[in-house]
Amino acid sequence: MSILIDQHTRLLVQGMGREGRFHAEQAIDYGTRYVGGVHPGRSGGAALGRPLFNTVAQAVAETGANTTMIFVPGPAAADAILEAVEAGVGLVVCITDGIPLRDMLLVRRYMCGTPTRLLGPNCPGLISPGKAKVGIMPAHIHRPGRVGVLSRSGTLTYEAVSQLTAQGIGQSTCVGIGGDPVGGMTFVQCLAMFQDDPDTDALVLIGEIGGSAEEEAAAYIAQHMTKPVVGFIAGQTAPPGRRMGHAGAIIAGGQGTAASKMAALERSGIRVVQSPARIGEAMAAILKHPL
């Protein structure tokens, strides 16, 4: 098994511009079942051997899509998410960055009570190695295996994955929840899925400064998780009051520092590494000598 995506994933891509098309193609090459694209004004056409649709509802009705990956530009991306939620798509993965906060607040509110799960925005997506890829990560660094990876970052997640692979440690699913202050799935929701996944033995958790998602994750891990976790927090040297690239990566009013997050994780029994170069090593040590 794995979480969220696998061989049963039927993928739709919203926003079939240059990037959407490129990553749809990459997903197909990885063996993901891509069923169609949504691009207003191109209904009736085809791309990558699959039909294009004007609306998500049409696409879902004709293809049975259960997952969508969004590349629609920031100003219109929230609308694309809402359209997918309304059409009943089970998993919406929004890669787009630069979505206005007000739009995401409305999306969150609208999604209350719906069965749809949203990953992102401003995220690399997710991959279940050997099964399916719904994201923009380089596929070749991954290996099928039994360690989950959960992160707020993109390239830093690739870094962690490549360290695991270099240690001979494969991955069950690698999930990037995104760097925005208000998004869809949280660390805690993903942790619960990894805990319940019989094919995940251990987890890498990569956090960063800003907000309290890591503190909430630490509390959840202490209470509910039996699987070992290796943690890293980016931004130990970040100055307060500055947004470090990600809209959500900001130390505000003394809150959300790397030090406080690392302390919270350590208190929950997580093996926290100071150096981003030691993530793979730490996991290898834990798997060799379980706690």
Binding site: L101, I136, G154, Q274, P276
Partner: protein, 387 residues
């Protein structure tokens, strides 16, 4: 994006929210004339900078005559003002706000912020006005009243009444205060704010509420639909290299260290800063070239880093995903050829097309130090500045 107090007050005024009479001056004489036009016996001269803590740092001064207004303005204008929030260099005061003085009966704190855990805006109200809200939250959290806002409804009148009621103020002033709060949320929503803080929100001795100060921050991602807010951006209050970086869509933040960093991705860029520090040096900047960086953007990244005189070496850390290593390497070559790079450059590349990328750098004949992983890259760059 931050805007100045006087700009925020002008916005509040258009929503018929009560703010003191006042105008902004760029010259001392102008300040005196504004005071004379306003009339009255007391005036306040307020330095306009993008940082709080002005009151404690001499940035807000009371005057008892137009002549004194002019003196205070002359003392503030053209000088850097250092507050606990500006950093040691302070911020240059380019204009001052001259306002009528007013009689304060009560000082409150009010703000609308995003609660990231709830995924909702919340309205905060406290009787501890004028104080630093972090201090209030830390020392007397029970005095800080909160109402989460349903973005489909706005701040409902009953919620505003409930907030005000909990402060146990005199009944006579409650209705006016309660009617002000939903309007503040309207401003927050209409202007795509990420923060709207009125501190202090006062009750005057005449019994009316008045927004004595305002701190407004607007969402950079929403500026495309906020042209009236975007024109308020004061580039002179920002770091020049950071302004230049935004023109090339580079995410750059200047820091105080000596190792320039060029990285793709915000998380990896922060982690690179961290590992430089752990290796015994200090990052000169945060720089995320993003996933779509072309040769021009990489060249611009080098230009900006080389413009910082403290940079003694450059560390490039790229994990190719969308950004292919061969394309990136070509960009680096073009940049190094066109920009005067007078310091050692350490390159660590991994990911998509890494072999092609490394070959391009190796075949260039230029003196790059290639590192195989992040730890090695940090060691190389620290060694480079010690040589």
């Amino acid at each position: 994006m931050k805007i100045h107090e006087y700009q925020g007050k002008a916005i509040l005024r258009t929503y018929e929210l009560p703010v003191p009479q006042g105008e902004v001056a760029r010259l001392p004489l102008e300040a005196r004339q504004i005071a004379e036009t306003l009339g009255g016996q007391r005036w306040v001269v307020k330095a306009q900078i993008h940082a709080g803590g002005r009151g404690k740092s001499g940035g807000i001064r009371l005057a008892r005559s137009p002549a004194e207004v002019e003196q205070h303005a002359a003392a503030l204008l053209g000088q850097p003002l250092v507050t606990p929030q500006t950093g040691p260099g302070g911020q240059l005061v380019q204009c001052v706000l001259i306002e009528e003085g007013c009689e304060i009966a009560q000082e409150l704190y009010c703000s609308i912020v995003i609660d990231r855990q709830l995924g909702q805006p919340v309205c905060l109200l406290s009787a501890a006005g004028g104080m630093d809200i972090e201090t209030v939250a830390a020392t007397a959290p029970a005095t800080l009243m909160r109402e989460p806002i349903d973005v489909l409804l706005g701040l409902a009148p009953f919620q505003a009444r409930r907030l005000v009621e909990r402060l146990q103020l005199q009944p006579a002033i409650q209705p006016a205060l309660a009617s002000l709060l939903p309007k503040l949320y309207t401003v927050f929503r209409d202007k795509d704010c990420t923060l709207l803080e009125i501190n202090p929100l006062i009750v005057t001795s005449a019994g009316g509420p008045l927004c004595l100060d305002v701190k407004m921050e607007c969402d950079d991602n929403a500026l495309f639909r906020q042209p009236e807010v975007e024109v308020l951006r004061d580039l002179s209050a920002e770091e020049p290299l950071e302004v230049e970086a935004t023109h090339s869509k580079l995410n750059y933040i200047k820091l105080a260290g000596n190792i320039g960093c060029i990285v793709n991705g915000a998380g990896l860029a922060m982690a690179t800063m961290d590992i430089i520090q752990q290796a015994g040096a200090s990052p000169a900047n945060f720089l995320d070239v993003g996933g779509r960086a072309n040769a021009g953007a990489i060249e611009q990244a080098f230009r900006i880093i080389m413009a910082d005189p403290h940079v003694q070496a450059v560390l490039i850390n790229v994990f190719g995903g969308i950004l292919r290593c061969d394309i990136f390497a070509q960009g680096v070559l073009q940049a190094v050829t066109n920009v005067q790079v007078r310091v050692p450059v350490v390159v660590r590349m991994e990911g998509t097309n890494v072999e092609e990328g490394r070959q391009i750098l190796a075949a260039s004949g230029l003196q790059f130090r290639i590192a195989n992983d992040m730890a090695e890259a940090a060691q190389h760059v620290v060694q480079a500045i010690r040589e």
